[in-house]
Symmetry: D3
Subunit: 209 residues, 6 copies
């Protein structure tokens, strides 16, 4: 009975989907309260009288992410889940590290446009190449990826237009969901033999975020 | 140079992606003007003095869609592109027909929640089965599908919370985009051999809408 | 003292008035918690860990509504009040049944545009007639009605662009409110004798929803 | 064919219906251009280089409105239609004058909450009486009215939360629409004889705004 | 550690900053609950069953504000903080009193456009003079002021497009914040000697609201 | 007559004020058309058929800004005015360079929250010090500044939650506006002698953006 919801929850874990422009703030700040058991659209705020400077502060974005994984990339997100002061403010960040030939695989941010600034290295996206200091815009919902085509590490900073942009990594969501999507469905949808689907569903699906 | 945009445009053709709650209307009606060369966020309105009753009218949703295709399903959309009166009003419809064992393949509506009402037949979704008169909610952005598991045709009416909900059919967007996504990217992302990717990219990708 | 509010509340009972485009969702789902005593703009969500598939499911929309009333029509609403999964998602449905010559009387949905699809029968609205498979758009706030002009029952499905569209049935709100609106006010407003107003206020005002 | 639209247009003339919170401004000012033939959601702006101080200025709200009409009241509106600088800014005003025993009849503003400040006289609303300096809030969409119960003129200033709040005067919209609503519909809806409906439809319906 | 927040809080006390169009209401009314310890974007609502007419009522706006202060002006605000029924409704009011030559100093409302109606006296703003019955629009965020240039008191009513418009009084925010902004910063920013900054920071900064 | 507008325009030049959360996009992309003479809320889009990849591309953010000015800082903005693809997408960037002891003076972004990431150097803000890799959030509308307290250059990347965030530099807006604000007003507001005001108004006010 709950398996539809498991599927939902898996999609949430595999990817925080969110789907709209964040509403406006109605006060100066509304720091996310990670201790509440009251659930609303967004996050309940902690008592303003208890707000500290560090609620607006995050450190360590200069640290290189660990790209020792099958994709050779790592996304370090800074959003309402770890920088509570971002609640109600409609913006977040991510640092993306790439090992040589590392891939940030095809994915979409259902609730945010991404503006990527390349700080170091060379990245390939669609048929375009980005170099140091280049900025590229991925409109909200567009499925996109980045491939490091250089022999050196690459580093990018992404700004995203939501406190909780969400990410749907296509391959993982389709073949890695739990419970699994019926293999008849995927075989027909991807025009492959059910054995191929069963094999793909049996693989370990790397998350790089 | 324009190939990134070709990719965008293909995504648009393969799927009208749109990504947010529709803004509010600022007048009684703003019928879409399909003759304008002025482009705005949404659609420019025709002169209110020229608005006719038929701008708010669509007929033929009782007709069965043609499901003679590889998927055995057909989506008949009624949105701002063919019912101009829907412009600025934040809602649209679709009729979905299924041949026996027909599939509406995994897809997402980036800008709309879908509320599906089954008028006839039996549909499987995730691990749940819908029967005649059942209603199911697919929250905005959730990747979902419907499979007709009955020996008879199935018919559903979907209500969507945008004048232009958009649809991203996962398989088509990944393997059917033009220009093609680099097969190194897809091979690494889907953990398959490049030959498999090349094969998939060579197939004809059915659109059922 | 509280009678202004009684009037408000009556208007709410007689009609859930709501007046704007629903704000955007900030998470994948936010199932309405009908047990909370915390009131916010919209509805507080139940704990995501307790969400079940049935929170997104409603059955029985194939059942004919009971039209044995003075109006000969019945509206069966499916909105956030009985399909909790619709909370934050900006859409809802209604099935409307009509006995022969049944009337869905002049009313307005203050928070939603209605897209009506006629599944069976013939309906008259303003000076237009709808037949099976016809779709008609009632822009948000427009006062509208439907009259069954056929000898047989009629059935329509309405999609509405809010989780809680609201309905103001004109006659009931004016003459059936409790406390009653001062009859001097209504006599002057409707240009009729106070006795006519008093008579109208003494009648039983049928709600068909 | 166009009569449904005539009905729409009449409702617009009899009352500018608008139905949502105004969207946000995207620039410092966007003065309404009343000469354009381009129609959008809201109003196109005049060239910022041609904007004059007087685009933000309106004079004469100290003048008493002419209450010599059947209702004994007069609404002087200051909104985007006569104070062009209000375009995109989400607010407007009205001055309401009342002769002794004058009535501002039951109506609703589909797109705005009204905050009424009584500058002079005494007004009755529902079961409450307002005196000089009293402020009362009519939530968006609530059907409301004001009756001057004093022997002297009354004057109020209303602030409304839209550049184009709209007003639906109940009696006029129901009995004064052109083309007329079918008298079978109104007779059944109001539980009166068709002759009563025909009589009411034959009357002259005063607009006080 | 908390001093950044003190600065924030001071800015809040010195001025409730808020920065966006209020979201839409999702029910008929949501009266602010000033007793809750649950904090959300906006204000939690009191139990609808306990709502009273007086929650929508404010009296005394006919009283002259006390202008015996260094500025010779007084702002009497009517917003969600003292008229709880305004919660979720996107509008508020203020009465502004001016002694002869009184000044409402340069300030901005970060979340609201202001529409000022002059009820009595003469006011100078920028290079324009307002007389009785004149209306002027200050677009959201514009820094503005009013100076009474008449020998008599002046009175204005301001309508503001937010339930909580906020006000940032420039001089007070810059020189009166606590903790003080570093005088090196202000000396460099205002091109004055640090002694001038230290003197200004030592002064008492009048709030007229 | 036009001087109020001159003041407005100056405020626009001195600072693009904008005052709300950006509305949602209604299509995949809406690249700003910088050749149109049609003005709307936001920017009209160029013909989608003419959109090029470079409409989403900006290069050179690796270049150091010229800080040879009185403030010793330089803001390089990347927003809808120079990266047209950002239109309707609700986000923008800025690179901020600081010479040793350089100041980004007290200012506010009326339409955006700023998330600042320090790439190099040390910055002082309020009473907190940021080091390389630190991130700090300035909630929308908060007046803020950054001072380089290191002997070396500092570089930061700011992400802002609007396509056109706007900036109001306090000192410049108050003392550098043209036409000048009446010195009686400023003398009274800042509690200084008119000669001081006249002197400040005679200075050259550096813009660092």
């Amino acid at each position: 009975m709950a398996s539809y919801v498991f599927a939902l929850v898996v999609l949430v874990l595999a990817s925080t989907q969110a789907f709209a422009t964040d509403p406006s703030q109605l006060q100066d700040f509304c720091v996310a309260d990670n201790t509440t058991n009251v659930f609303v659209n967004g996050v309940v705020c902690k008592n303003p009288a208890l707000v500290k400077a560090d609620d607006f502060f995050f450190s360590g974005l200069d640290k290189t992410g660990n790209t020792k994984n099958a994709l050779g990339s790592k996304v370090t997100a800074v959003n309402v889940n770890n920088l509570f002061g971002l609640n109600t403010l409609g913006i977040s960040l991510a640092r993306v590290d790439f090992a040589p030939y590392g891939l940030n695989p095809p994915h979409t941010h259902p609730r945010a446009t991404e503006v990527l600034t390349l700080l170091q290295g060379r990245l390939y996206l669609f048929t375009k190449t980005l170099n140091k200091g280049d900025v590229f815009v991925f409109p909200q919902g567009l499925i996109h990826f980045q491939l490091n085509i250089g022999r050196e590490n690459a580093v990018a900073i992404a700004a995203l237009s939501s406190q909780n942009p969400g990410v749907i990594t296509v391959a993982n969501t389709v073949f890695g969901s739990n419970p699994a999507i019926n293999d008849d469905v995927l075989a027909k949808a991807f025009q492959v033999d059910k054995k191929v689907v069963d094999h793909l569903q049996s693989l370990f699906w790397t998350e790089n975020h």
